[in-house]
């Protein structure tokens, strides 16, 4: 096993993800690369095919635009195209998300871009416990896995951390969290708010506000984009009868659309009111503070969406 990427050794990762690892494991296994994403992702893929288990850091998900060919035309397809002869146990560790005015090329979320490619598993934890459990699951998997963490959940004060509910007791012992298993953070009876990553925290705050208005919201954290816990989503919505989906990725053709498709395909009659999506509008991330805040799937937009589902449908 080795870690490879830009600034992972001497700096310990742009967001501090690999601090101390080079000292502990040595420069041969924690490898600083040139700024050559296509090159080092290709190299990591070949090493994985030859029996290694590389972890590739891409600090900003935006940078997959530079190297996407190696991910989606080669790494993701090699197991299938080889008829199962070559495994690619490769884990990407990727930061995403905005809210700190880093503008259009350093703030995207892009779950859907990665999730759209067959052969890649995509997960995103909302707290420290899930972060370790999902990472351990990725590292044990024999496929291409993408472990994505919202930058505001990575524990850095200058990005607005800590979010109180993102802190959790993390056991020293080894544990895993299966792919495709959502987590109910808060039970409710009137409306299901589906989120993932940072939007789980926004949904929890929204649920507090809604409770004060007498609306009981259930907060479901997908944790895993691929595979998606379709059963878990349907079960919760069948119980509450109302659905809000909150995601920081672009609105169209994304996680929010897929969650709505679950209900539409299984049984739309469980809905007492039309579902509402709270996602990033289909524009690049603007720089200016008021413009970016306007676009984010923040607490206010989630609360408003939940109210809408309560007023538009039959009660």
């Amino acid at each position: 096993m080795f870690v490879i990427g830009e600034d992972v050794a001497k700096l310990g990762g742009v967001f501090g993800t690999t601090v101390g690892m080079a000292d502990e494991f040595g420069a041969a296994r924690v490898i600083d690369t040139p700024i050559s994403e296509t090159g080092f992702i290709g190299i990591a893929t070949g090493a994985a095919m030859a029996g290694m288990r590389p972890i590739v850091e891409i600090a900003f998900v935006d940078f997959i635009g530079v190297c996407f060919n190696q991910i989606y035309n080669f790494a993701a397809k090699t197991h299938y195209m080889s008829g199962g002869q070559f495994k690619v146990p490769l884990t990407f560790m990727i930061g995403y998300g905005g809210g700190y005015n880093d503008a259009a090329q350093h703030s995207q979320t892009l779950f859907a871009t990665l999730a759209h490619v067959p052969g890649i598993r995509v997960v995103t934890p909302a707290d420290a416990y899930d972060a370790k459990g999902l990472m351990h699951t990725c590292l044990r998997d024999d496929n291409v896995t993408v472990w994505m963490v919202h930058k505001r959940l990575w524990g850095l004060g200058w990005l607005g951390f800590p979010l109180p509910k993102a802190l959790a007791t993390v056991p020293e012992h080894d544990y895993t969290i299966p792919f495709g298993q959502s987590r109910i953070w808060r039970e409710g009876t009137d409306v299901t708010i589906v989120g993932l990553g940072l939007t789980v925290h926004n949904a929890l705050t929204a649920a507090d506000q809604l409770a004060a208005e007498g609306i009981s919201a259930e907060v479901l954290d997908l944790r895993s984009v691929v595979p998606l816990d379709r059963d878990g989503v349907f079960k919760s919505v069948a119980k509450t009868g109302r659905l809000v989906v909150a995601d920081e990725d672009y609105l169209s053709f994304g996680v929010t659309s897929e969650v709505l498709a679950v209900i539409a395909e299984r049984d739309p009659s469980v809905l007492k009111a039309p579902a509402v999506r709270v996602a990033y509008p289909d524009v690049p991330v603007p720089f200016s503070r008021p413009m970016e805040e306007f676009c984010l799937p923040n607490v206010e937009r989630i609360v408003a969406a939940a109210r809408t589902t309560m007023t538009r449908g039959k009660r």
Binding site: I43, A50, G51, F86, R121
Partner: protein, 288 residues
């Protein structure tokens, strides 16, 4: 090809055989080989299972990948072989296999075959920089057939010799003209020894000929007629030389050619007669 037994397009290797043979003669099963969208001669030379390869070309269940790959995506894990249909895409995975061997202390080197067009791709340069930086046991073989589909090398490439690019990456660079199996064999031997001794990588640029079009159905009419007429098929040329230099008797040559023809006939029969996969197998093998 539309309705014939071979589905899809087909990039043929006619004329480029000396590159594959001259390099792969130095390699064993521990050595990894990656090829591009025109992979067949390299696959055969590296010892990929011929029957399974042909069955894969026909899209049959008995193919290398059970029909999921096709002619541009040939994989044989038994001899550490892979190919990719995207230009220069095999550079990174090839170098990664070299890195894995180095990290694991295992024997073997890695070789990626690309065309001259690949030298203008970003992956080519990014990977060779890291090969030089980390002294990986890796050889980039450039089969210079002078064309990227219809665009000639002189219309696409700012320098005459892509092996000159080795100096940018602290690699050895060697050019071999003439599509000559013996000269290629000798130069490849030097590159392979350098890699095996841990002295680093090489760009091995081999002049060759694309005797046919880019794929079956491409007449190559965009090439000057004089240039097309001047191309020589290296196989009869080499046969003639072996006989002229008394390196082989006509009987030796005839026996060898008959043996190879039998293997090819058997592979074609195996491929044609094998069954197609169940259509729903399309949904299997996505994940390990």
């Amino acid at each position: 090809m539309g309705k014939g037994p071979l589905p899809g397009e087909m990039h043929q290797s006619f004329g480029q055989e000396p590159c594959a043979v001259g390099v792969c003669a130095h390699l064993g099963k521990d050595d990894a080989v990656g090829a591009g969208h025109r992979p067949h001669h390299v696959a055969v030379a590296h010892g990929v299972d011929l029957n399974k390869m042909v069955a894969e070309l026909f899209g049959k269940k008995t193919g290398l990948s059970g029909g999921r790959g096709g002619h541009m995506h040939l994989y044989d894990a038994n001899v550490n072989f892979f190919s990719s249909g995207i230009i220069a895409e095999g550079m990174g995975p090839g170098a990664g296999m070299a890195l894995a061997r180095k990290m694991q202390g295992k024997p073997g080197i890695a070789v990626a075959f690309v065309g001259d067009g690949a030298a203008n791709q970003g992956a080519f340069h990014e990977v060779l920089n890291m090969v030089g930086l980390w002294k990986l046991p890796f050889i980039c073989v450039i089969e210079d057939n002078k064309y990227g589909v219809s665009v000639s090398k002189k219309d696409s490439t700012a320098i005459d010799r892509n092996s000159d690019r080795a100096s940018s990456y602290a690699l050895a660079g060697e050019y071999v003209g003439g599509n000559d199996p013996d000269l290629i064999f000798a130069a490849a031997g030097r590159a392979v020894e350098r890699a095996r001794r841990g002295e680093g990588g090489t760009i091995l640029e081999l002049e060759t000929e694309r005797l046919h079009g880019h794929f079956i159905g491409d007449s190559g009419a965009y090439r000057p007629e004089a240039e097309r007429k001047a191309m020589k098929d290296p196989i009869p040329t080499y046969r003639q030389r072996l006989l002229a230099e008394n390196a082989a008797t006509p009987a030796d040559v005839a026996a060898l050619e008959a043996k190879v023809q039998t293997q090819v006939d058997e592979a074609m029969r195996f491929g044609r007669e094998s069954a197609y996969p169940d259509a729903s197998d399309a949904l299997q093998r996505l994940y390990a």
